[in-house]
C-alpha cells in the first residue's frame, strides 16, 4: 500500500492523541515547529498544541496568487505547501562563519560552534521531506560536510503529514515525490476525515518513532482504516493542479535559441522570489564585514540567488548580465544539470516558485514550451 512502511507500528489516534504526540516531543525538550496561520498565509513556527494548527483552513494557490480559504470542516491538514519551506531551520538565512579580532598586532580567529536547537518538524509534507533528502545530498553526502547543516539536521524528529487537498500549483504526484510520505520520517500522519469521523492514521518509520507512538493512547489500525487512507491518497494524487515530466528533458533537447527564453525573460522580474521559496535551492554569498576601528571582522554566509547579478560576478563583471541568462541558469540547473550533479532532480513539485512568483511564471509551462521544438526567432527586437 502506498507509502506504508510495514516495519513500524501503525496506529489510529484521535485529535487528543495527536496533541499527546506534540506534548511528548515538547517534554523531550524539543521546539516543535509546524504549520500556523499568520499574516494571511499558512507558514511555519513553533507551537505548543495542535489547537494552534490551521484547523479549517485551506488555500487557493495559483500562479502569483495565494488566498486563505475556509474548508468549512475541522480538518487540521486540509492545505498543501506552506508559504515558507523548512530549509531555513537547517540552513539559516544568515550564518556567522568566522569572527576575527585584532589586538596589538595579533589576529585571533574564532569559528563559532553551530547553534543546533533540538527541534521536531511537525506536519512536513511529502514534497518537503523529499527536499530535505536532496539538501542532505548537497550538504552532507559530498566531500565536504557543512557543519551548520550537519549539526542542525542530525537530531530532527520528523512527523510527516500526507496531503489530502493538494493545491492548484502542486505536482508531486507526477514527480513521484508525494502526496503521501514514503520514507525519511519518524512518524507519518494521515488525516482520516469525512463521514463524521476525524482520526489520524499514524505510522512509525523509525525506532524512536515506534517508541514514541507506543506511549500514546491509540488503537491498532484495521484494514478498513488502511483502505480509507489509500482511497484518500488516490484522490489526492489525482487532483494535482499541475504536472511535470519527471524525466526532465536532456540538455541537448533544449535549444538555447528557442524564442521562449526571450519570452520568459521579458516577463521575469529577476526578483529572486522563486529561489528563496524553493525547498531545495541552496546558493549563498559570503559577506565580510569590519567594524569602524578595524579591530573586528566577521564573515557571514547569506542566502543568495542565481537571479542576482553579484551571484555570477567574476573579475570584470557578471557572466550572467541578462535576465534571460539568469532564468536559463535557474531552470537548467534545477531540472537538468542537478541530475548530473546530485543524481536527482532539483524540483520536488511543491509549486512554491509558481505561487510565490509575483508575476506567476510557471516552470512546468516553461519547460513544456522549451522542450517543444520551434523555429528560433533569434534576438530580433527582444532585449535579453
Amino acid at each position: 500500500m502506498e507509502g506504508l512502511n510495514t516495519v513500524g507500528l501503525v496506529e489510529v489516534l484521535t485529535l487528543d492523541g495527536l496533541d499527546d504526540v506534540v506534548r511528548v516531543l515538547r517534554d523531550q525538550g524539543r521546539k516543535v515547529i509546524g504549520p500556523i496561520v499568520r499574516d494571511g498565509v499558512i507558514t511555519h513556527d513553533e507551537f505548543d498544541s495542535v489547537s494552534e494548527l490551521p484547523h479549517g483552513w485551506t488555500e487557493d494557490q495559483d500562479g502569483g496568487r495565494y488566498r486563505l480559504v475556509p474548508t468549512g470542516t475541522d480538518e487540521v491538514f486540509g492545505f498543501s505547501s506552506p508559504s515558507t519551506s523548512w530549509k531555513r531551520y537547517l540552513y539559516p538565512e544568515r550564518t556567522l562563519l568566522i569572527r576575527a579580532r585584532r589586538d596589538n598586532g595579533t589576529v585571533e580567529v574564532v569559528q563559532p560552534q553551530p547553534d543546533a536547537p533540538a527541534v521536531a518538524f511537525f506536519g512536513i509534507r511529502s514534497c518537503d521531506l523529499v527536499a530535505l533528502g536532496i539538501l542532505d545530498r548537497v550538504f552532507l553526502d559530498r566531500e565536504a560536510t557543512d557543519p551548520t547543516y550537519a549539526a542542525r539536521r542530525s537530531d530532527v524528529f520528523i512527523v510527516a503529514a500526507a496531503c489530502n487537498r493538494p493545491g492548484k500549483t502542486c505536482f508531486c504526484a507526477s514527480m513521484d515525490t508525494g502526496p503521501t510520505p514514503r520514507s525519511g520520517f519518524d512518524l507519518s500522519v494521515r488525516e482520516l476525515h469525512g463521514d463524521g469521523r476525524h482520526e489520524f492514521l499514524v505510522e512509525a518509520g523509525s525506532e524512536r518513532g515506534t517508541e514514541l507512538l507506543a506511549t500514546i493512547a491509540s488503537r491498532r489500525a484495521t484494514t478498513a482504516d488502511l483502505d480509507t487512507a489509500q482511497a484518500l491518497h488516490g484522490r489526492a494524487a489525482a487532483s494535482m493542479g499541475r504536472r511535470m515530466d519527471p524525466q526532465d528533458p536532456p540538455l541537448a533537447a533544449l535549444d538555447p535559441d528557442h524564442p521562449r527564453w526571450d519570452d520568459v525573460a521579458n516577463r521575469c522580474l529577476a526578483c529572486g522570489n522563486c529561489t528563496m521559496v524553493c525547498p531545495t535551492c541552496f546558493c549563498n554569498a559570503t559577506e565580510d564585514s569590519t567594524n569602524l576601528t578595524g579591530t573586528e571582522a566577521e564573515r557571514w554566509r547569506v542566502w543568495d540567488s542565481c537571479f542576482s547579478i553579484d551571484f555570477s560576478h567574476l573579475h570584470g563583471g557578471s557572466v550572467r548580465s541578462t535576465v534571460k541568462s539568469r532564468y536559463r541558469q535557474w531552470l537548467l540547473h534545477k531540472l537538468v544539470t542537478w541530475h548530473d550533479q546530485f543524481d536527482v532532480s532539483g524540483c520536488v513539485g511543491c509549486g512554491r516558485c509558481i505561487t510565490w512568483c509575483p508575476v506567476g511564471i510557471d516552470l512546468t509551462a516553461e519547460i513544456t514550451a522549451l522542450a517543444t521544438p520551434q523555429q528560433s526567432a533569434g534576438r530580433k527586437g527582444v532585449p535579453s
Binding site: S83, C271, I309, P358
Partner: protein, 265 residues
Amino acid sequence: MSSDLKPSLAVWKFASCDGCQLTLLDCEDELLAVADQLEIAYFPEASSAMAAGPYDLSLVEGSITTPHDVERIQAVRRDSKFLVTIGACATSGGIQALRNFGDVEELMSIVYASPAFVSTLETSTPISDHVQVDFELRGCPIDRSQLLEVIGAYLAGRQPVIASHSVCMECKLKGNPCVMVANGTPCLGPVTHAGCGALCPTFNRGCYGCFGPAETANTDAMIAALNANGMGDDEVERLFHTFNAWSRPFRSAPVPVAPPIRKTR
C-alpha cells in the same frame, strides 16, 4: 592615530531635505567611532568648523537644481579624493525631479509670489550627471547601517557590502509572505534596490521604491503585474514617480506626463 593622520571627511548639501545628513548624526554610538577615525573637516549641519580642502572622503547629499549648484559640484569634486552620493536626491534627482516632467516656468508661477527672483534650472538631476561619483548610496532616506558600512569599508580599504538586488530578496530573508501574492497589494519590491530590509512589506504594505531601481529592473513586467492587480496607468505613474522618479528605469513608467500639482488659492 594622531589627529593629523586621520582621513578628512566633508559633508555637502545640494537640493535636499537634510534627512540623509541627519542619518549620519543619528548614528549616536557609532558617531564617536566615526569621529575617532575621521577628521570631520567640513560639515556645516553639525559644526561651525569649516576646514579647507582637499578632503579624503566627501558625502554629497542633494540634487543639482540651480546654475550655482552646477559650478559648486565641480569644485566639490576637485576637492574630494573619494566622492560618495547619499540618498535619492543625489543619486537620482529626488522628489524635486518631478519638475523634469513638467514646465518649470508654470510651476514657479504657481509656487512663488515673485518668480522673477528665483534662479533655477529646468531640471533636477543626480550628481552623476555632472561629475564622476565613486559610490552611490541609495535610499530616501539612506539606511544608517548602510552608511556606516560604506564609511567602514572606506576606512578598511575594501568594497562595501551593499547588495544591488531586489527588495524581494530581503523580504524573503525575513521570511515575509509576499503582499502582492497573498493580498494583491501593489508592491515595487521586485524592481527596487535592496537596502531598507523590506521595511514596508514587513508591515504588510507594498514597497514604495525609496531605494530606487534594482540592478536590471524589469519595469515593463512590473507594470503589467500592477495592471493585473487592478492598478490603472495613473496610479502606476504615481507609484513610480516619487523619490526616484528621474532614475532611468522609473522615468518612463508608464508614460511621461505632468506631475499632479494643482494651483492653490
